[in-house]
Symmetry: C2
Subunit: 665 residues, 2 copies
Amino acid sequence: MSVYKINEDLAKERQKCNFDIQELTHIIDGGKHKTEQRRFIEEKVLKTGAHEDLVPDECLSLKERYENAVKKSQMYSDLVKNELLAFTGLENFGTPILRRLADAFFKEISPFLLHLGMFVPTIMGQCTPEQQAKWLPPALNLEIFGTYAQTELGHGTFIRGLETTATYDPSTEEFILHSPTLTAYKWWGGGLGKTANHCIVVAQLYTQGKCYGVHTFIVQIRDLETHEPLRGVKVGEVGPKLGFNTADNGFLGFDNYRIPRDHMLMKNAQVLKDGTYKKLANAKLTYGTMVFVRVTLVSDSAFNLAKAATIAVRYSAVRRQSEAKPGAPEPQILDYPTQQHKLFICISSALAMQLTANWLWATFSKYLNEMRKGNVDNLPELHALSSCLKSVSTSDASFLIEQCRFACGGHGYMTSSRLPHIYAFVVATRTYEGDYTVLLLQTARFLVKAWEVAESGVDVSPTVSYLNRVNKHKELVWDNSMEGLIRYLEVVAEGKISHCVKNIREKMKTGMSYDDAWLLTTNQLVPAAEAHCRAVLMKVYHQESKRLTADSSLNLQKVIDQLVQLYIIFWSLEKTGDLLRYTSISEKDIDELQNRYEDLLASIRPNAVGLVDAFDIRDEILQSTLGAYDGRVYERLMEEALKTPLNAESVNSSFHKYMKRESKL
Amino acid sequence: MSVYKINEDLAKERQKCNFDIQELTHIIDGGKHKTEQRRFIEEKVLKTGAHEDLVPDECLSLKERYENAVKKSQMYSDLVKNELLAFTGLENFGTPILRRLADAFFKEISPFLLHLGMFVPTIMGQCTPEQQAKWLPPALNLEIFGTYAQTELGHGTFIRGLETTATYDPSTEEFILHSPTLTAYKWWGGGLGKTANHCIVVAQLYTQGKCYGVHTFIVQIRDLETHEPLRGVKVGEVGPKLGFNTADNGFLGFDNYRIPRDHMLMKNAQVLKDGTYKKLANAKLTYGTMVFVRVTLVSDSAFNLAKAATIAVRYSAVRRQSEAKPGAPEPQILDYPTQQHKLFICISSALAMQLTANWLWATFSKYLNEMRKGNVDNLPELHALSSCLKSVSTSDASFLIEQCRFACGGHGYMTSSRLPHIYAFVVATRTYEGDYTVLLLQTARFLVKAWEVAESGVDVSPTVSYLNRVNKHKELVWDNSMEGLIRYLEVVAEGKISHCVKNIREKMKTGMSYDDAWLLTTNQLVPAAEAHCRAVLMKVYHQESKRLTADSSLNLQKVIDQLVQLYIIFWSLEKTGDLLRYTSISEKDIDELQNRYEDLLASIRPNAVGLVDAFDIRDEILQSTLGAYDGRVYERLMEEALKTPLNAESVNSSFHKYMKRESKL
């Protein structure tokens, strides 16, 4: 960890911790063996020191940052290929362990990310065996660098609106790629600006005079020798962003650019030599990738929130401020209930999101087998579930990470705290792969349909089974057990969905079309879908934590139970208005929940540092002046400050250039 | 404005607008004459073109950004001194107009900001006439550059905890400044790192063996000729931050550094030659500066939120996405009720904050005269008011600016949208000059005291007069007029304060001390203070908008009334839980409020672009690819992208250095 002496306050916190930190780490990792494997890999990679920067990345120009990131990507990829593939297997390309390690190398992101994260998987998933044989070996061997270009300057979430065309010319057996307008330019592809020489391009397929909608094509965009853009290809970097500044996100336009016919990815659909279009597989299967990416984003939210919580909790144990009582010494800020209120929900939410991501992945894997057998009945539920979990997790994590930053006061504003980077990363995921609002409305579509099915007396699928109990809720006697509270949050979700349906029907009675009535109800449909998602999160967190700690020591069971209770009561109190509207909760019940919440804060307090230690995020990966294991907060802040190039010279040239005056002083 | 053709959709929006945009601009500026004056100054400064960058600032290294900012600061200061002082008068140093213009020069901030914003005002406010005569002319003439250093590495909001000492030595008639520990280093001072050669230092005053608490000193830290730090002074830059990256925020430590006795600012207290300490004025008067700074921050929140709303609303009129109805063309995203819900509250909140800042300033000025006559009775109320308004405005503005960014989808993530800069700037103000939570708890102290006074039957001061009606509320019949809703939000505030008092008293009955009981109630005291602040904001917004539009045209009155209603109903719906707990609101009332809210969105929709046009923020000041007056969104995005230095070369050197491979492809 560190050669320095541990800060005294932090050392005391660790003595106070009453559960076995290792035991919790194993649960979070998914077993003792997995913890050991992760630590082995971390040790192997980090002992190279390849991740160390002499100058903080944010001090450099954007160009220098990019160049530094390419250099590191090469080192990182070589390490992965030479040292780790044998150990973890090819299937671990892009696994949480490797992505966690990437954080040590890149404060922001690698320009190779989409090569490994989208280019390679798309070849695996959408190419014919012949195409795979051609493209996969050079891609895995980093002989070619690829990325993925779907979004256009004028078109995002609504894929059918994409403008780039791929028109088949049977006379030469080629597709002609073309960007008819400025808004048709591809925009955002990570690594597309300067790094990639190949690209998966999503375009509207035209053949025999007819449009068949969006399809994917593999396109070479730069010369393999000179790296110059090929004729007919306009490619460049999109410029500075809130985050991801080392990813050379790019733009890409085509001027009647020709590619061979077999560069269309032909696993699911083909264009024959004569131009005949043939559909082969159920396109719905490609939803699988989408669900996979969303699970990944929920898991990313969990890990990044865990980082932020680690930083803010350790800092709050070291930082002392104000007088809680006249004349008394300045207390650790972690002793303030307002600080506990800001931070403990972050610890608990990180755990909730991680357990839910794991559960979602397990659920998806189970369904996937059925889908491969042709049964796609579960797809709508899975899609609705992954949509709302992606929205709510990325949104909650963004909000809570920023709350952790606020909890660190001014020092959270220093990039050396790492909190600004973490926020910039996670808040992007709130928008990409499906915007927050759009995805919740997709979940709402599913919920309204399910409500109508349940209304007709037919039972609906597991995650919405609470709808089967329509209109039987208000009479329930208030039950403040965790199971009771979860049931009541389901009642809230049901009440909100039901309210939306009523609203839509009333509007339609006035002659409005369903589409218009839906549109005018969207401001209520979004919170209805959110309420559904909150109920799912609570239920899964409660159930999975019970299952995973069934054989744990009593003290660990107890602290986990406290975290789960904190989560459920926190959200019950946040949603008091909904509970008052849709359930029989009383004023007294609310006061009691508030008191229990305050008691939980006090109970969790002595274990707070132990809980974030259990996330087991190494200093090299956390890269935070405020959050290091040893708590040398102020020393590290100063050490980092001294690294900034402005401090390499005692006087900056601009004094003599612009400021110097005669003064009579 | 622009030589380009206006985007067709934007042009149509402007045709639809049914009120006189100029008329609203005059109201926001405070009169037609003020609008004209502002425009004259803007024109004069901006026609120099001094604000134009060839390369986006964020592409440069931190050092280059600093040097660029110093260069521009010099140009900007000269312009202000030579061209504008005669016109606007010295008293306009730091006025909204000049600060608005500064936005055109600096995407982030000038390293001279604290020279003009804190160093000069402190000399004016805390120096004796002799000291002023010595320091003010060279400071105003930019012969010396100063800043303000209060916060230390280990000490922020709690000023009494500062460690830097100033010990008087009567044998040489000097103060010895010293930083006894690392945590005593000054940290954050804007312009302190490399720019300033003088500094106001806040330190614990020791004389004749006794500590007299914090006092201010003017300290030269660098040589005027060479700019080298003086012996005994350790000064440098703190390193990269989330924002403010051109401000060379600095650290400063002293090693028994001696300054003459008369460098203590002696207006309010003196140390005589023999070391005798003499208190002269009521220290409470210095609260005035604090209140002034807080009003400024409320006004900054308003202006920056207006910028964000301008960007997001114009973009939403240009951007088209998805299908609202099958087969129909992609609608402007401003037509989605979910988008209106995100954006119209931003327009209204910007107006609410601006009118409230103006009102607060007027209230303060009125009290100031009384205070100068020795009557400081109103100070607690003023302090409580400015504390909560600063907290809630900076917090709301941060949240809503980020909401504007979300509403712009992926493109909001580009720094060329300007939204990331606006957020980074405003979110810092949520922490500095008093942290959000700490300030709300100060307001809560005042509220609890006022509640107890009212309980004793004595009437309390105007902004909390609603407490005089204790316990008479529940019986009120629901009244959904604006006045009724404001009154109900006051009832909520009263209910929450009352609940806190009850809570504290109950805890004390168990033997707990008042301080402990207070501490354990802080998580309820914060929302109580927030509820109070919301009621004040609504009331002031409602009353001031009525007053200011009394003579306006009917259409303007109508649209302003819609904005005020939107604001009040928005917050009533947000606080449904509180209304259900503390008032007689019914389910039906809530539904009705929701319907009125949706109707208001539809009514405001045709005027949305007109409303943000009325903020009258010139393109050069807005500096946004998404928000320019002409709506050339996609063209500007591409033009900005092409300016990034990575695009100056078609191939980056790192390809040949790190990536090139033999490929069999």
